[in-house]
């Protein structure tokens, strides 16, 4: 497993430098923009794409086929991508978190509750892309997987709009904000674990040609 992570680390150093640069610029800009959360969340969203991009490079170099000849289980191959994803997501999360905490402290408006909410939302945003995309990629390959991902996102967005228009003013007013937050956190973690499990199941069934 260490070999898989090391290989991905070498690839990240080569192919993901631009991500690091963009993340640094966006984190810096977020320090000076008042209410625009785009600059806070975008680096998180971006780093969620890293495992998928690494899989794209793997597919191009036929590493998927070659890894089938090495002493790795399919579970290890899938888990390697989730772990390298988590590593990059946590790195960006910590960097963004430190920057936002510093900004709040300097502006004398640091509140632990607000900060925790922000961190939690960033965690969900950074893991959501790979949570949804990776099972499709492990089942169908990178190209077809990406297409399936876009279709899935379309359905999720459509369903969200429909649900919010139906439920507006009914349920939301009755639910405590803390409860919503807890539900979102549990759902985010649950989706990530389910995604990891499904990717292993799909990849075990897939024949590597």
């Amino acid at each position: 497993m260490k070999g898989l992570l090391l290989k991905d680390w070498y690839m990240m150093k080569k192919y993901c430098r631009a991500y690091l640069l963009i993340a640094v610029v966006f984190i810096a800009v977020s320090l000076f923009s008042n209410d625009n959360m785009f600059f806070v969340f975008y680096p998180c969203l971006l780093c969620g794409m890293i495992p998928i991009n690494l899989l794209g490079y793997d597919e191009r170099s036929r590493w998927m086929q070659y890894s089938g000849t090495l002493p790795y289980t399919k579970t290890q191959i899938v888990s390697g991508k989730y772990l390298i994803g988590l590593l990059s997501q946590i790195t960006i999360l910590v960097a963004t978190g430190v920057a936002q905490a510093a900004k709040m402290l300097i502006a004398h408006n640091f509140e632990l509750g607000d900060f925790a909410v922000l961190m939690l939302l960033m965690l969900i945003v950074s893991t959501l892309t790979s949570s949804i995309c990776l099972p499709f990629v492990f089942k169908l390959g990178v190209e077809k997987g990406r297409t399936a991902y876009y279709v899935m996102i379309g359905f999720v967005c459509g369903a969200s709009v429909l649900a919010s228009s139906i439920l507006r003013g009914q349920l939301v007013s009755e639910i405590q904000p803390n409860l919503i937050l807890a539900l979102v956190a549990v759902a985010g973690i649950g989706i990530y674990i389910l995604s990891w499990y499904l990717s292993i199941v799909f990849f075990k069934k897939r024949e590597i040609q």
Binding site: G3, M11, T69, P71, Y72, E207
Partner: protein, 280 residues
């Protein structure tokens, strides 16, 4: 112990079936898998490595069923596929670091020695390698983790004749240890002829034969004669014949040919071509 035992192996795709394949590779031997494009050589190798799922049959590698923790068995298998799938940005040194953390028995010194012997560039990225260099890196990896079985799928293709000869020599050295074995598929039948103890002919997913090379060469021969002369040969002696403007060329069973006929030696390539034509 046998290095590899394949029994009744079957795998079907739309338009292709690998049909009831039976092969046994004894330890310390080299077996050449010969077949035209699409004969089922790569399918067989992928089934052995459990990269694709068999429909039926059994595969025993180094005494263990290939569905039973094959990742552990793969520690003892060196594989070179027709395309070496190393990430394009890695250098030889980085590949060594990755493999060191992949194989329990990785031998850094042997890898460095082979990289030097095969003239692999230190600083270049894999994407800058020629096809021949890529194959050489694959071979260096396969030979650097104390494997007991080498599985080589077109591993000598893309190499120039001098390097190919060196590599064939390396494979030959590998089997000096009686616990080491090789299963090799190649289009370059001359390499297999030099190297192999056993040959297996695959044609359209079916095994035409699997025999010791020397026995095959002793068993079969070639006769060049006229149409009248061939009438004097017993029918059971002629396995296949083809006519050309200069007469008839026939693949014959030496034991059934009368003593007055001059039988020339047959090469493995000629034998394969004749057998495929006979099968058609």
């Amino acid at each position: 112990m046998n290095a590899l035992e394949i029994k009744n192996l079957t795998k079907s795709y739309p338009g292709f079936t690998l049909d009831n394949l039976n092969l046994t590779l004894p330890s310390g031997c080299i077996m050449g898998l010969i077949g035209e494009n699409g004969a089922g050589k790569s399918t067989t190798i992928k089934l052995i490595l459990d990269m694709i799922h068999k429909d039926s049959g059994s595969i025993i590698i180094l005494g263990k069923d290939n569905t039973d923790s094959i990742e552990l068995t793969k520690e003892d298998i060196g594989v070179v596929m027709d395309e070496v799938g190393i990430p394009e940005c890695l250098t030889v040194k980085q590949v060594g670091n990755v493999m060191k953390n992949t194989f329990r028995n990785w031998d850094d010194a042997e890898y460095a020695r082979l990289a030097q012997k095969l003239a692999l560039p230190d600083k270049k990225q894999f994407k800058e390698f020629s096809r021949g260099m890529k194959m050489k890196l694959g071979i260096a990896i396969a030979l650097s983790h104390k494997a007991k079985l080498l599985i080589l799928d077109e591993a000598t293709s893309g190499l120039d004749p001098v390097v190919r000869d060196e590599v064939v020599e390396m494979f030959s050295d590998f089997t000096r240890d009686e616990n080491h074995s090789i299963l090799i598929s190649s289009h370059i039948v001359s390499d297999l002829e030099k190297l192999c103890d056993y040959v297996a002919f695959l044609h359209k997913g079916k095994l035409l034969l699997c025999e010791e090379k020397d026995q095959l060469l002793a068993e079969y021969g070639l006769i060049h004669c006229t149409a009248e002369e061939i009438q004097n040969l017993p029918a059971e002696a002629i396995k296949y014949k083809k006519e050309n403007p200069y007469g008839i060329e026939a693949m014959v069973l030496r034991s059934a040919v009368p003593a007055n006929f001059n039988v020339s030696p047959i090469s493995i390539e000629e034998l394969f071509v004749f057998m495929v034509k006979e099968a058609r």
